[in-house]
């Protein structure tokens, strides 16, 4: 008996050591990025990105504050599209999932197949691009950041449908109907308010995909005023001087500061992921639950 206990302890010790090593490897690029954003620009030019730089500096952040116009704008674009997109997505997803969960609904299976088929067959980028640009003319609009692709996924719809069919009993609907409630009333006054846990999960998935989205702007946006934070990052990776464009007036007055390009790139990337780091501990639970439920039965 004693042998088993020590074997178990030894295993846990070994597992801990392995996971410590893996965690360090996983976190290393993140740490490098954060340290780099606080490193002196000349130090970066001579020695590159390091974990223990010889000279630290806040110049990347002071530059960002001084020349904030472009950065603040893209941040607001990202926040706006995330909030609007996620809100719309929750409304659309729950409202199509609800009839699919109703056992008395005549077209229940047809509707499920209609949603399901979108996972099987994908028309691809070319027809999608031509449709959005020539029928709906969404080039260079905020709609381009919100509507294509991200608004609804079959995965989320089935997640909500399963939640409704598993946790809301048929008796609930019968009782509500006997009380004279209409279908729309049942959905808006009874079912939707009971959806909090699943709304948290799909809201998290969708919010994250809007926050991290860069493809829609890549396809449909040329005017930088519609760039969110991800597309601003893409742009300054290619050309750091782009940041100056928001500060052209200052430059004209001869106040242009030298651009700490290497550190400011990393500082901006850090600012872009900061909100995710902040909400991550609160939302991890919902995230994991969603992945498990979704994977077990899609």
């Amino acid at each position: 008996m004693k042998k088993t206990v020590s074997d178990e302890k030894r295993f846990i010790a070994i597992a801990t050591v392995i996971l410590v090593v893996i965690s360090i490897v996983a976190l290393f690029p993140m740490i490098l990025l954060v340290v780099a954003s606080f490193t002196d620009e000349n130090e970066l030019i001579t020695n590159g990105y390091q974990i223990l730089p010889k000279k630290l500096s806040l110049e990347a952040y002071t530059y960002m504050v001084k020349q904030a116009a472009t950065i603040v704008r893209s941040y607001l674009v990202t926040i706006g599209t995330t909030v609007v997109g996620t809100g719309l997505s929750v409304l659309l997803t729950t409202s199509i999932a609800y009839p699919m969960a109703r056992k008395t609904f005549k077209y229940r299976n047809a509707l499920s197949f209609f949603v399901y088929f979108t996972m099987l067959f994908n028309g691809g980028l070319v027809p999608q691009y031509i449709m959005w640009t020539t029928f709906f003319h969404i080039k260079d609009t905020y709609a381009a950041l919100i509507f294509p692709n991200l608004l609804m996924t079959a995965f989320n719809i089935f997640l909500v449908r399963n939640y409704y069919s598993n946790s809301l009993p048929e008796a609930l609907y019968e009782a509500a109907q006997l009380d004279g409630a209409s279908e729309i009333g049942i959905f808006t006054k009874i079912v939707f308010p009971l959806s909090k846990p699943v709304v948290a999960t799909i809201g998290l998935f969708t919010g994250l995909s809007y926050w991290n989205s860069w493809t829609n702007a890549l396809y449909y946006v040329q005017d930088p005023k519609y760039f969110g934070i991800q597309n601003l990052l893409m742009r300054i990776m290619k050309n750091i001087e782009y940041l100056r464009s928001g500060a052209s007036e200052l430059a004209a007055e001869g106040q242009a500061v030298s651009l700490p390009g290497n550190s400011i790139r990393m500082a901006l990337a850090f600012v872009g992921i900061l909100p995710i780091i902040i909400i991550y501990p609160m939302l991890q639970k919902y995230f994991i639950k969603g992945v498990v439920v979704g994977a077990v039965k899609g």
Binding site: P29, L32, I45, G124, F147, M152, L233
Partner: protein, 307 residues
């Protein structure tokens, strides 16, 4: 009585359809119209003439596509990368899941899981920045610190074609292994504890318990996950293959997949015909693969079949 019930039911049907209508409309626009729109792959499309005005050209776009080396390169890359992701990814995710499960009750177990899941929440743009911080030719950590310390000359990673299959597999694992481990952890958590208790009484070591209990009982989950991944081998993650190599043209022979090819054909070369042909090729083969994979899943384990 039956008559009024029928009337009630049809009213009920209409109301429920009405509730679903906005969602149905969105899916018709975003998903179904483009499916119908795949017919443009059979046209000699020009923006000036539009979809209806452009003349039909039969299978010409497909002929041109398959006459080039491109079709072969993008198919090979897409399939081989997916194969590597499935094999290596599954092994790593299952190892993560077993290790994390052992520490699951402990605070550090939760901490490790948070750390390993975190990369999955970052965008591909930010991921490309992280890779750049490591591999950038003048300021990258690998060239300046690691290779420098070893007394070696720096490598220009963003032109080093042969390195990218390794780099992309590592980046894939970094981003996805912790995420995929969640599903395997759920599978391990579902195994009956009494089996382990019985094994312990028989004096089985931890390692023996893993090889004789955990892995065999996890097999159905692994098979299902693998089959589902096989159904997707004709698709690739656009962000991984577009962002992480920084769209570097010299790397195309080892980083170009069907998805990046379709994008570049459409947006960078304006070659709508070739691009749409590649897209339809992906849709059709992809569809066939999903159907086959699901057919096998349904035979093995109807509970987990998609339909």
């Amino acid at each position: 009585m039956p008559k009024s019930k029928k009337k009630y039911a049809s009213k009920n049907t209409l109301a429920l359809l009405f509730i679903a209508l906005p969602g149905i409309t969105y899916l018709i626009i975003n998903n179904y119209i483009p499916i119908v729109g795949t017919f443009i792959a059979f046209k000699k499309f020009s923006y000036a003439k539009g979809i209806w005005g452009s003349p039909w050209c039969g299978l010409n776009n497909f002929k041109f596509l398959f006459l080039t080396d491109d079709a072969w390169v993008i198919t090979r890359n897409t399939l081989l990368y997916n194969l590597a992701f499935i094999v290596i990814g599954t092994v790593v995710s299952v190892i993560f899941a077993i290790l994390l499960h052992e520490l699951g009750e402990l605070l550090r177990g939760k901490f490790f899981q948070s750390v390993l899941l975190f990369p999955h929440l970052l965008s591909w743009v930010v991921t490309a920045y992280l890779v750049y911080a490591l591999l950038g030719s003048t300021t990258g950590f690998v060239n300046n610190t690691i290779l420098n310390a070893l007394g070696k000359k720096g490598v220009d990673w963003y032109t080093a074609k042969t390195a990218w299959p390794f780099i992309l597999v590592i980046v894939y694992l970094w981003k996805n292994a912790g995420y995929n481990a969640i599903v395997y952890m759920a599978g391990i958590a579902g195994i009956d504890k009494e089996i382990y208790e019985a094994a312990k009484i028989d004096g089985a070591s931890k390692l023996k318990q893993i090889t004789a209990i955990t892995l065999p009982l996890l097999r159905p989950t692994i098979i299902i996950m693998t089959l589902m991944a096989i159904g997707r081998v004709f698709y690739s993650d656009f962000g991984l293959f577009y962002q992480v190599p920084m769209n570097a043209g010299t790397l195309f022979s080892t980083t170009q997949t069907i998805d990046t090819y379709v994008y570049r054909g459409l947006m960078e070369q304006g070659n709508v015909g070739m691009s749409s042909a590649a897209g339809v090729y992906q849709s059709l083969v992809g569809f066939a693969l999903v159907m086959i994979a699901n057919f096998i899943v349904r035979k093995k384990d109807p509970e987990n079949a998609l339909f």
